[in-house]
Symmetry: C2
Subunit: 337 residues, 2 copies
Amino acid sequence: MSVSGKIASIKDVALAAGVSVATVSRVLSNGPVSDALRKRVEDAVRATGYRPNLSARRLRSQHSQTIGLVVSDIRNPFFTAVSRAVEDAAYRAGMRVILCNSDENPEREELYLRLMQEERITGLIFAPTRAMLDRLDGLDLDFPVVLIDRNAPTGRHDAVVLDNPRAAALLVEHLHAQGYRRIAGLFGNTSTTGQERHEGYQAAMTVRGLTPAARFLAPHADAAEAAVVEWMGQRDRPEAFIVSNSLFLMGVVKAARRLKLTIPDGIAVAGFDNEPWTELVGPGLTVIEQPVQDIGQSAMALLFERLEAPDRPSRRLVLGGTCVVRGSTAARMADAD
Amino acid sequence: MSVSGKIASIKDVALAAGVSVATVSRVLSNGPVSDALRKRVEDAVRATGYRPNLSARRLRSQHSQTIGLVVSDIRNPFFTAVSRAVEDAAYRAGMRVILCNSDENPEREELYLRLMQEERITGLIFAPTRAMLDRLDGLDLDFPVVLIDRNAPTGRHDAVVLDNPRAAALLVEHLHAQGYRRIAGLFGNTSTTGQERHEGYQAAMTVRGLTPAARFLAPHADAAEAAVVEWMGQRDRPEAFIVSNSLFLMGVVKAARRLKLTIPDGIAVAGFDNEPWTELVGPGLTVIEQPVQDIGQSAMALLFERLEAPDRPSRRLVLGGTCVVRGSTAARMADAD
DNA sequence: CTGAAAGCGCTTACAG
DNA sequence: CTGAAAGCGCTTACAG
């Protein structure tokens, strides 16, 4: 136990064991040490309550064993889940993670990128804004970066993303098969994700001879609620909505309630992501489930591969989503318009 | 720009500026330096793309500017929100935070406590398991700790917690006023939180001449669902449930669905916490809202106060919750029972 | 197998 | 105001 207040250093241990600090260091790193000395050192470690100083270790060994994780907001359940997966993988690999929330603000992203440099991180897992995505290739950072969730097809960085166009197309496909025709779309306007999902929506609508009708909104439930309320007041009101994130999902549900429309008869809805509560709302909400666990783990895996082979061409891992069908997209009544 | 691959050190800057490293250091820390030299150093910093090495700085200055945060699971929305508040407060104060998930596992808690020592953190914000709570006073850690969410009344550490008994009593009070009498309770069995909420429930029931009927469950939706299904099959089935966390809330809703009971006529429910989706489920769920922002900020504040006055007696900050009334506890039909 | 010594990149008395 | 030097707590060649 440290009684003195100050925590014991390797020197204290060496003194207590009657050996050199080099020997203590070797015992701690499982180096070649005689059994006799090893035992004495181990006893001394216990006696002094010694804990290695990671700052010193990092400085000397020149690697931080730290990975950076910059997301827009940890309160977004998608990022909550991904970051949990990243952290688990990191701690399993003996690494630490530094988490930062950019709030979709490019200036904060820049600030945190600087912080990452000062921490001498081993690598970065990053969900950038569109603005940052444009500048990212120009920056010269001292660590590899793996993009998650957002990504430019032309970028030079490794990335693991959902197959967003395909996922959105899945929703169109499903709604179409259920008898819906006037299918409107709400997409987030701050990330590439919203764009890509819109592209998939657009293509899948067109290929079926349906007319796409999309709006891009700031990622808030209120924005979606207002848009839906207004939209449903017009002629040719949509029969169904496809929305690109769970905040919009909430917005649609709120709008339905305000307009006294039942789901799905008055208004059908499908979207992202499969959060626990989507099962409980109304008749259950049809959603795309992302492989969040896989995304986090794969990002870590890509990072490790990159560290092993710094010069290999970049890779993009595109993961498929699953369509979880629930009552919010039940087959459309025959009598409908 | 660092072209060499290796990031520039303070020595490189000194060389480029034609000054000593001491002068560079002084410029960086806004120490007393002549304008002429300051300018030369600033230019050299830019030219070399210099970024201070935080490991070196921490080692030398002997403080890590780091606070630890150990919670059970960041995916629990309560902890998501609190940790976001903690991180914001920390970064604002120029500190970093290391986040760890214990998964309610005392062994992992111990592991992370050790990690915190190795990081030489400035202080810890900690939501411990009950098992850890018992041993915590015996440990001699080299940093102050502020407990959040969970806490033993006899403990020697600072803490910020919800007034759990009062919050649970609020729910009983409300249900009673709405005409409910047979009010059952489901409480988590891993934390002190569940215990305290049970106490409040018990007391509030007794004082109103009602019979408490409580069960303690592992914190999973499934456990709650099963318990409710079974309970509702018995004679004297409860009219309402009070539950101590949002997973149980989900469980009750699922059970209601399975039993084809409407909320609140067939089964009323109220609980913790006020997550965004609770408004959208069924007729809306009546819940206690915790001041999550305040909890995170206050924990940081208590930590800073403790650092300034290490010997001051410990403090507990007990914050009140708000009862958010929704349809799940609408007034009970007169004909009932 | 073991120890003395150098050095990672900083900050901070100590002189001048 | 400025610089030379010591030292934070480690690891790792280098000798022996």
